[in-house]
């Protein structure tokens, strides 16, 4: 499929959309909340895939990681832009499409079953889970989280690392137990 994208076959993109569109839309919707904005995020995400097709390896795990990474970034951009508008702040200069790090290894070994991940998340200590969710799903920076929760910035940073490590350990254990 990636080969067809590289050959600039538009139909190939819709096939990827058929496979990954629901996940991308679900993620975008959870972050931005509005249906129309979520649609824009998803459209931009798949257009980005089209434009950057020659950066990808023909590897299925890679494609999923790419789509979800880009969708997440664009959803955060949208929610942060909205926040700035609502606070009457001047918009940041439009962020250049960043070179999202495509970590093929991470894509290959990430657990992609939503149920398993949701269960694993529940096993992370609440205070670590909270800062991770505020960052990943609400798009707050660590400074903003520290301010909102009245915590030292170092505490926020370390909770993020510890929480992600705990999530990784829990998922690894599930995988080792064949789940």
């Amino acid at each position: 499929m990636i080969a067809r994208l590289r050959q600039r076959d538009p139909e190939a993109l819709t096939l990827v959309f058929d496979r990954l569109g629901r996940r991308a839309f679900g993620l975008a919707y959870q972050i931005v909340g509005h249906g129309a904005e979520a649609e824009d995020v998803v459209q931009e995400t798949f257009l980005t895939l089209w434009r950057q097709a020659d950066r990808l390896d023909p590897d299925r795990g890679h494609l999923t990681g790419f789509i979800l990474t880009v969708a997440h970034r664009k959803a955060l951009d949208a929610v942060r832009a909205r926040r700035r508008r609502e606070a009457h702040q001047t918009p940041l200069d439009p962020e250049m499409d960043a070179l999202d790090a495509i970590d093929v290894e991470a894509s290959a070994i990430a657990v992609l079953d939503g149920n398993i991940v949701r269960q694993a998340l529940q096993q992370i200590p609440e205070d670590q889970r909270r800062v991770i969710e505020m960052a990943y799903f609400q798009g707050y920076t660590h400074h903003e989280i520290a301010a909102q929760l009245r915590l030292p910035i170092g505490t926020v940073k370390s909770r993020m690392r510890l929480g992600l490590s705990k999530l990784r350990d829990t998922l690894n254990e599930r995988r080792r137990n064949g789940l």
């Binding site: 839309f25 434009r51 990681g65 969708a71 499409d97 998340l121 990943y136 999530l167």
Partner: protein, 230 residues
């Protein structure tokens, strides 16, 4: 930033919880430092976060809109292949990656190319402006871009004179990232030179200068000492 500061920020970085300037500094550090092996693990965890959001069926119209948009882009690409490089900022960066790979001196070249990336960050060049050279040997050199005539005048200053078996070589770089030789020059004792070169304004994206053996090279053998984005 040193490695221990980076380590503290890794969690926030993969969660995209850093403001743009901090994010850029971490990314630049990671581009040249291989010590932070935890990154893959952290990225794995973050990718898993992505699927913890329940999947949701998008409206049917979205698929049609997407197909329409992609067909439009495909049509534009066929009509003007070089234009594909010009429209999106990301395309500014890819030729540099290709160029660095083509030079085959990634490790040494990366620092120079980080400088080049910053030049790209400052937005596209427009016709008629003076462009400053950037790079380890830039020191006040600049390009006067006379696009209507298809000419660029390079005003070079403070460039160290080279030994007699070496020369400075000018390269023009288009959207495909391939450097094409545009001439050779040497500097006077005070390190200055003024050179006029002919450029195709539609195709040329950057001008770079590297030090080469006498007589010039077919392809650059050194990282660029000066780069100007047009």
């Amino acid at each position: 930033m040193d490695c221990s500061e980076i380590e503290e920020l890794l969690g926030a970085y993969v969660l995209r919880a850093l403001p743009p300037d901090e994010e850029r500094r971490v990314r630049d550090h990671l581009a040249t430092c291989r010590a932070h092996t935890e990154m893959t693990d952290l990225r794995t965890a973050v990718l898993s976060l992505a699927v913890s959001a329940p999947a949701k069926e998008p409206p049917a119209a979205l698929r049609e809109r997407l197909l329409g948009a992609v067909r439009d882009e495909a049509r534009q690409e066929r009509a003007a292949p070089s234009a594909r490089g010009l429209r999106r900022p990301i395309q500014h960066l890819r030729p540099l990656v290709a160029l660095a790979a083509a030079l085959g001196i990634l490790a040494a070249g990366l620092l120079a190319w980080n400088v080049v990336l910053q030049v790209s960050d400052e937005g596209g060049g427009t016709v008629g402006l003076v462009r400053q050279f950037a790079g380890p040997m830039a020191a006040g050199s600049r390009v006067l871009w006379l696009s209507e005539e298809g000419l660029a005048v390079l005003e070079i200053q403070n460039l160290p004179p080279v030994s007699r078996d070496r020369v400075y070589q000018i390269w023009t770089i288009g959207a495909d990232g391939r450097p094409v030789s545009a001439g050779l020059f040497t500097v006077t004792e005070d390190g200055s030179a003024t050179i006029t070169i002919r450029i195709d304004p539609a195709a040329t994206r950057m001008i770079a200068i590297s030090e080469e053996p006498e007589g010039g090279s077919d392809q650059p053998t050194n990282p660029p000492g000066l780069v100007a984005e047009l």
